[in-house]
Amino acid sequence: MQGASYIYQQIFNGIVLGSIYALLALGMALIYGILGLINFAHGALITIGAFCFYFLLFKLHLPFVLVIILTISLGGFVGFLLEAIGYRKLRGGPGPSLLITSLGIYIFIENAIKLLISPQPYAFFNPPFLNRVINSFITFRVIDIFIIIATIVIMICFALFVKRNKIGMAMRGIAESVETAGLVGINVNQVIAWSFVVASAIAALTGFMWGAKYGQISYDMGFMPGVIAFVAVVIGGIGSIPGAVLGGFLIGLIQIFTVGFLPLGWSVYRDAIVFTLLIIVLLIKPTGILGRKESI
């Protein structure tokens, strides 16, 4: 009933959506690895990034590249504040206090945006060049290519960062043992702050991607992607960054396939299917696809 190009089209769409989830999941996995915290506030950075981009580009009419840089910077700065104000003092305390704080921060930011900006969704008009449609074997817009390329670039930079850079190495060291990291002379507070900056800056950029892809932004837009990114982290194997990225792509593909290949009425269940997948993975392999074995 459907030709090969239709299948390729769906795979392509899945990779685009999966890219966004993968970037979010990468940041979440980084912070989970270091603090053992499921950072629900991560989703709020999507919203912040999207609105920041919207105002700078459409209200202040700044150039596109500058707006991207400013959006990433603001995300990083908010991440720095989150850690310094929200989490630092709670570290070493009981795990749930961090988790509940992160939920509280999410709710706070969501409502602040609702109150200060608008409870109504905003239409997100792309700069025209991003909307250019390219028809070949499959059909796509420039923004789709932008998302994929940006994702690849960020992943390569991130991999190099944790492999070659001493701060990145220190992140991996801290993920193993905070105490030992301090003993060998690592300024643990500074490195943890950096991981929040990196994760949040990436999340802010995905806010722009989300808005540009779906043409609409709203105060609560970050919630679902945030939760789904968390599911990606769990499916991929909690504690494993490559696993989280894999989980993100997997979920992107599954959601698109749900819409693209199942009967029309099924598309409303795309989120439900993700959670069903989560339950199945947890039943079969509780550590996730690439997760290390942990004794419970």
């Binding site: 001493k166 991996r172 003993l183």
Partner: protein, 233 residues
């Protein structure tokens, strides 16, 4: 005097593990803290490294009060710890472990120091790209030494370097400690194996239940009747 501890009390929570402890370490010496399990040796060392902070008393390093200085700030001023059980970053490579040991120096300085470490520990160079967790016990201990020494310490704290190692390897480890001493690094050694400690130390402090009981040069202590009875059998 490189290091001076004045009447410290160190607690875990509210339980004091070390009480009223004073000791001194001269530059270039190996000073051993010995005693049974739970005597407070490791606790003292943790206070020196900055993992624990004394509730009472003061620690002076080069005549500077460092009692409340955080662990990570002590490394740049020349205090490094080789922790009990080695505590390597087991998922990182050997070279990455060394890089983190030299965290406060830049890439260029690190490269120079790496050469020095490789010349002291040839085995580390052979294994440089291996994941630290896959090294043998002896190799891990060498890497733990390397990771501490690469920060150019003046004072090296060794917490039970022979723990969990085979007798032959322990001999190797002590040869290395001797080698380290010859480079001019002052060493504070915590050891349960009192015979091993006696062979290498210039001065010894014996701890019992959190308090200092006897101190002196190893040759003198060896003749002490109480020591003979309690530790040498």
């Amino acid at each position: 005097m490189l290091l001076k501890i004045e009447k410290i009390e160190v607690c875990y929570g509210i339980i004091p593990a070390v009480r009223n402890l004073s000791l001194e370490v001269e530059e270039g010496q190996i000073v051993a803290l010995v005693g049974a399990n739970g005597a407070g040796k490791s606790t003292t060392l943790k206070a020196l490294a900055g993992v624990l902070h004394p509730r009472v008393g003061k620690i002076f390093y080069n005549d500077k009060d460092i009692t409340q200085l955080s662990a990570y700030r002590r490394v740049p001023i020349g205090i490094a710890l080789v922790p009990e059980g080695r505590q390597l970053f087991s998922t990182l490579s050997v070279k990455e472990n060394l890089r983190l040991g030299a965290y406060h120096s830049n890439d260029k300085e690190f490269k120079e120091r790496l050469k020095e470490i490789y010349s002291i520990f040839p085995i580390i160079e052979e294994r440089k790209n291996q994941i630290a967790g896959t090294l043998s016990g002896g190799e891990q201990q060498m890497l733990a030494f390397g990771r501490a020494i690469i920060s150019k310490p003046k004072l090296l704290l060794l917490d039970e370097p022979s723990l969990g190692l085979a007798p032959l390897i322990i001999k190797e480890v002590y040869k290395v400690i001797d080698k380290i001493r010859l480079t001019g690094i002052t060493i504070v050694l915590v050891e349960q194996n009192i015979k091993m400690a006696m062979r290498i130390a210039n001065y010894m402090y014996v701890l019992e239940a959190g308090e200092l009981t006897i101190q002196g040069e190893p040759l003198k202590l060896m003749k002490d009747e109480n020591i003979k009875k309690a530790y040498l059998g």
